[in-house]
């Protein structure tokens, strides 16, 4: 199992590499002439460090990767717009996280509104081979996680995937630390049955 990239500042060096490849492969075609201001540079740096981790985080919350990428890209675009006010790469990471969580919530809301209209396509379901590759136990746990209420799911993913502290989770979810605790423990309790089966 590869080591995942934390969504925090100061990610290990390996987290950047795969991304830079991806970024470079693209930027040759896109051109960089107008990409010179401080905000542009910082967004590129933050992208290198955080993009993969944030997309993974959002995918855990949303299931559909392309929608998750949209949520994360929106966060980078609004970071760029706010850069003059923010200025600090440290708070930028927190801003990105909060913004991604916020965007996934909006998407989930729109989605469930759409799902009530029978003409719309159903929610994405993971393909069979993805499940087979990943192992039955992990899939069952992740599926159970996805059936949790959104706040519980967010609290658990931020803690056990992103490895954030309680204070960081509270900031990202814009709730109190007490509320983080209660969402996480209710979420864990709800998952217990599934976890017991595979332990």
């Amino acid at each position: 199992m590869a080591v995942a990239c934390p969504v925090t500042v100061g990610a290990p060096a390996h987290c950047g590499t795969a991304l830079v490849d991806g970024g470079l492969a693209v930027s040759t075609g896109a051109g960089t002439a107008s990409f010179s201001s401080e905000a542009d540079q910082m967004v590129t740096e933050l992208f290198t460090v955080h993009y993969t981790g944030l997309v993974r985080l959002a995918t855990l919350l949303l299931r559909d990767q392309s929608v998750a990428e949209e949520a994360v890209q929106d966060a980078f675009v609004s970071l760029h717009r706010r850069w003059r006010k923010l200025r600090d790469p440290g708070s930028a990471a927190a801003y990105l996280r909060t913004s991604v969580i916020h965007n996934t919530r909006s998407i989930q809301r729109r989605r469930s509104v759409a799902a009530r209209h029978p003409d719309d396509r159903p929610l994405d379901v993971p393909s069979a081979e993805v499940g087979a590759l990943r192992g039955v136990a992990g899939t069952a746990v992740v599926e159970a996680l996805r059936r949790l209420p959104a706040r519980q799911r967010e609290a658990l993913v931020l803690r056990y995937y992103a490895d954030l502290s309680e204070a960081e989770i509270a900031e990202a979810m814009r709730i109190s630390r007490g509320a983080v605790k209660s969402h996480a423990s209710r979420g864990m309790a709800a998952l217990r049955e599934t976890l017991e089966q595979w332990a």
Binding site: T98, Q108, P149
Partner: protein
């Protein structure tokens, strides 16, 4: 260590491994960075067909500020109360602005948890200033407004323009095509015109007409609304200056050499505007939703969604007057949690004809 603790640790470990295994399969797409760059590049590259139902005449020098009964003339427009439950932080408002004193501010930040109340901090002096943004509706780009709680070091108009240029809207559906590196040099209220002097990035000639027109109106509405808040004449037209001189062109192909008045509300405003609560607010269980709408038969429909997207309550509310922009208000009782409320204009055709109803959405939490 107890057996329960062991079990909990084992569960935690299993969950951690399951999440990482799932996440590791996710490889970001290759065009992500170029997508972001394209969207943050200057000048903006938005290309959209001209859909705004705004006649060219609306942005000529002729003052079209007679507009609607609701907005100008009386200052009820942008001095309506806002965010009455949204923040515990009282704010100090510069005089002269008789109708906005002592308003609690809207949440000041979207990237952090609510800051602790600082009731004893005398500076900087903050005020709720009306700031206009642009939102996409079923009838093209329209103006939307927010009250930004922002420092007012000089005058209210400057504060509003600075907020418009530099601050992102609380509401994620509201945006601005103005860039943060367009800067304000100064504002001067004269007898027959309000001059707004800009500098820095002032070349928006590449944008399409619809964006140019709505963006200029965004500035005009922000300036005139702030003027009425400050006790000045909000009915004056606005002369945009660049480094002290009227620009021939700045936005798209619009001629900005003469002053520009407010375009009629009906042409530029979104038909439903929720003023209260603002997006991201933290509220008590009895939530009052208020705003302004141009409503067929004076009726707007509303739905409250919980964070799972379930409708927890819905209903309709009446505006005080039909067929013109008029205030509406309604209350909804909610348990603690996260919610969004959607208010939409009623559609007389039932969706059979026309572009569909406009709506405004606010997300907030109830504690």
């Amino acid at each position: 260590m107890s057996i329960d603790d062991d079990r909990f640790r084992r569960d935690e470990d299993l969950l951690r491994r399951a999440l990482h295994a799932e996440a590791d399969d996710v490889l970001p797409s290759l065009d992500a960075l170029s997508n972001i760059r394209r969207r943050t590049a200057r000048p903006p590259l938005w290309r959209r067909p001209v859909v705004l139902g705004m006649a060219a005449a609306s942005v000529t020098a002729v003052a079209v500020i007679t507009a609607s009964a609701y907005v100008l003339g009386d200052s009820s427009d942008d001095t309506t109360t806002t965010g009455s439950e949204s923040s515990p932080r009282p704010t100090v408002v510069q005089s002269p602005s008789p109708s906005v004193t002592e308003q609690p501010g809207p949440p000041t930040s979207t990237e952090t948890v609510a800051p602790p109340p600082e009731t004893e901090d005398p500076q900087p002096e903050n005020a709720n200033v009306p700031v206009y943004y642009v939102t996409e509706t079923t009838q093209g780009l329209r103006l939307a407004r927010e009250f930004q709680n922002t420092p007012v070091p000089d005058d209210v108009i400057s504060a509003a323009v600075n907020a418009m240029l530099a601050e992102q809207a609380q509401d994620p559906d509201y945006q601005s095509y103005w860039q943060a590196d367009t800067q304000l040099r100064g504002v001067e209220v004269k007898n027959d015109v309000i001059e707004v002097d800009l500098t820095g990035h002032t070349d928006y000639t590449f944008v399409g007409n619809d964006i140019a027109e709505i963006s200029v109106q965004q500035l005009v509405y922000t300036v005139t609304a702030a003027a009425s808040v400050a006790g000045e004449d909000g009915g004056l037209p606005v002369q945009i200056l660049v480094d002290g001189k009227p620009p021939r062109q700045m936005w798209g192909q619009l001629d900005l050499s003469d002053p520009i008045g407010r375009a009629p509300l009906v042409n530029v405003w979104q038909h439903v505007q929720i003023d209260n609560p603002q997006d991201g607010a933290v509220l008590g269980r009895s939530v009052t939703i208020s705003g302004v709408a141009l409503a067929f038969e004076a009726q707007v429909n509303w739905q409250a969604f919980d964070d799972e997207g379930n409708v927890v309550d819905n209903g309709f509310a009446m505006t005080t007057e039909s067929s013109t922009f008029a205030p509406f208000t309604f209350e909804v009782a909610l348990e603690p949690g996260f919610y969004s409320v959607v208010v939409s204009e009623s559609d007389p055709t039932g969706g059979a004809e026309g572009p569909g109803p406009m709506s405004d959405t606010k997300n907030f939490s109830v504690e």
